[in-house]
Amino acid sequence: MGTDREVYYFATKKMCVGYGEKPLIKDVEIALEKGKIVSLIGPNGAGKSTVLKSIAGQLKLLGGAVYLGKTDMADMKGNTLAKKMSVVFTQKVRAELKTCRDVVATGRYPYTGWFGVLSKEDGRIVDEVMELAHITDIGGQDFQKISDGQKQRVMLARALCQEPEIIVLDEPTSYLDIRYKLEFLSILDEMRKKKGLTVIMSLHELELAKLISDKILCLKGEYIERYGTPEEIFEADFIRKLYGIEDGIFAEDERFQAYIRQVGSYGEGNYGSGDDVRRW
């Protein structure tokens, strides 16, 4: 399996995750090239956040390993890892008496000196990233007083400010309206094209997962249900099964049935083929 690591930038090997002693999900195997996007999908409570926390090194692995390049992440020191991987979790940063710009600037932490004073260069990067995330105009506002959607963009800017090679996001688009959902994902798309950013995220919106992901990981139960390209995942009745939408449910309502068919299939719905869609 050693050759895999040379091809793939990010890989998990037999990763077992969970809280305490008992593994919640076993033998997670993800392999991802640099600059690719993987989305985790699955029903509520399937353990998407647990997998993401484990990947980010915030939850002790109950078995297996996570590799970045050729290095086992467990062997990386905090600061080294911080310069490679950043996170956007559902939990927001606590930011008492901080402006949005202050919050973004906290992403520069691993690069500052002993007392954490920002250099001119740090400031330039902060401004650049804020421009990219379209939050320059709210930079001076109190972080606690802006909307959830704005907060989410600030959190993304914070993570990008860390200049990571790989970014881990837990349901990053949940609080955003349709425009900002698309905008948020387009920023990630741009970053991976320009800088080769690798993205691992969980998404609730299947349509979005379908159109932006290179790989999709389906979580349900003790083992990974399926891992593959959107074409492979969104086929026939798989989504129905994954989310436990049995035949009986909504059977009488044709509107719901149509919706499920559309979401659960690849290339059928309103989106056209995957390649067209990626150009938006």
């Binding site: 926390k53 980010a56 090194g57 915030q58 020191k77 905090g78 600061n79 080294t80 890892l81 911080a82 310069k83 991987m85 950043s86 996170v87 979790f89 939990q91 927001k92 940063v93 606590r94 930011a95 008492e96 008496l97 901080k98 906290t106 932490y109 691993p110 500052t112 002993w114 007392f115 954490g116 004073v117 920002l118 860390q162």
Partner: protein
């Protein structure tokens, strides 16, 4: 950092600095014997024109006392700030969480034990005992905080631990010899009286080192304020940082208890007022500002404690509670209001 902030920090530090000098001088001048400023200057510069008694009062009583209040007040505010950061709770503090009372109990036990054996109790013994007691209480609070998620329950538990420790202390004091009781009684209620230069030297050494170490932690502390997940992602070693905060805050609390007994509310009120003054929570500014703020607050309260009912002295906690407790109520009221927004 933008301009406005720079000016704000500068103004805040100037205010705190001049405030400190001002109350320090007041503390030295005012008392049962009033000493005018020119006399103090004369005595300080070694001109022997002043009366011998005045010189003695100044050198042996007022100066060491004011110096002690300055050091301990600062230490107390900083201990409070560290605990508030640690528990992410604006009303955490050494007194509220029962840490002062734990230290007090340990010191009382050790004092009585040593006095019975006619061993002289040194400042270092007292600090060591207080530190052990503080860590013990802190341990209990930490255990509880793991089990209960709610911050208000944590505070209630802290208060309960405080009551238990105080009860044990009272019990021990009741069974102590008559001569010891007088000493212990004053101290266990909290008072800055009777400070000697020897005391001041020891506390200055301990507090200076601890404050310096805390200041070195200002960067990880700043990251810790964002929340565990983001601090970890920034590369902070949470285990070591937490251990550091526990040890340093216990050490600072221990120092105060060893020399002045438990002093209430300064640890909550001073950091909060300073935060409002600075308009930031950045540790790199808050750590020195808290120290100054605590010093000013305590010097002011000690001045009142000595003078309001002179020659009788009030216990320092009586005065700090009068000015500190309303601040706590204010914080709680605001917190509640924020939630409703």
């Amino acid at each position: 950092m933008n301009r406005d902030r720079k000016y704000r920090y500068l103004t805040a530090f100037c205010l705190l600095g001049t405030g400190l000098i001002f109350v320090f001088l007041l503390n030295i001048c005012i008392g049962t014997v009033r000493i005018a400023l020119p006399d103090i200057v004369q005595i300080m510069t070694g001109q022997e024109s002043a009366e011998e008694t005045v010189t003695r009062i100044l050198w042996d009583i007022r100066f060491p006392r004011a110096a002690a209040v300055l050091i301990l007040g600062g230490a107390l505010a900083l201990a409070g700030y560290l605990l508030q950061t640690f528990f992410r709770n604006p009303i955490a503090g050494p007194f509220v969480l029962g840490i002062s009372s734990g230290a007090k109990m340990a010191v009382a036990l050790v004092m009585i034990f040593l006095m019975k054996r006619m061993v002289r109790v040194t400042s270092a013994d007292m600090i060591a005992a207080a530190f052990a007691g503080a860590l013990l209480s802190m341990g209990f609070v930490l255990l509880l905080s793991r089990r209960v998620g709610s911050m208000s329950i944590l505070v209630v538990s802290g208060v309960m631990i405080g009551y238990i420790c105080s009860a044990v202390t009272d019990l021990v004091v009741t069974f102590a010899d008559d001569a010891d009781i007088v000493n212990l009684h004053n101290w266990s209620k909290g008072s800055f009286s009777g400070m000697t230069w020897e005391n001041v030297k020891v506390m200055a050494a301990v507090v200076t080192v601890t404050v310096f170490l805390v200041f070195l932690l200002s960067k990880p502390l700043g990251a810790y304020q964002l929340g565990d997940a983001y601090a970890a992602n920034a590369g902070v070693n949470l285990k070591w940082l937490r251990a550091g905060i526990v040890i340093f805050s216990s050490m600072l609390s221990a120092c105060i208890v060893a020399f002045a007994g438990p002093v209430s509310f300064v640890g909550i009120a001073a950091p909060h007022l300073v935060k409002k003054l600075l308009g930031t929570v950045e540790p790199i500014f808050m750590i020195p500002a808290c120290f100054l703020g605590g010093s000013v607050f305590c010097l002011f309260c000690d001045l009142l404690a000595r003078t309001i009912l002179a020659p009788t002295e009030l216990s320092i906690s009586t005065v700090t509670a009068i000015f500190g407790a309303p601040v706590v109520l204010w914080i709680m009221g605001r917190k509640h209001a924020d939630k409703q927004d």
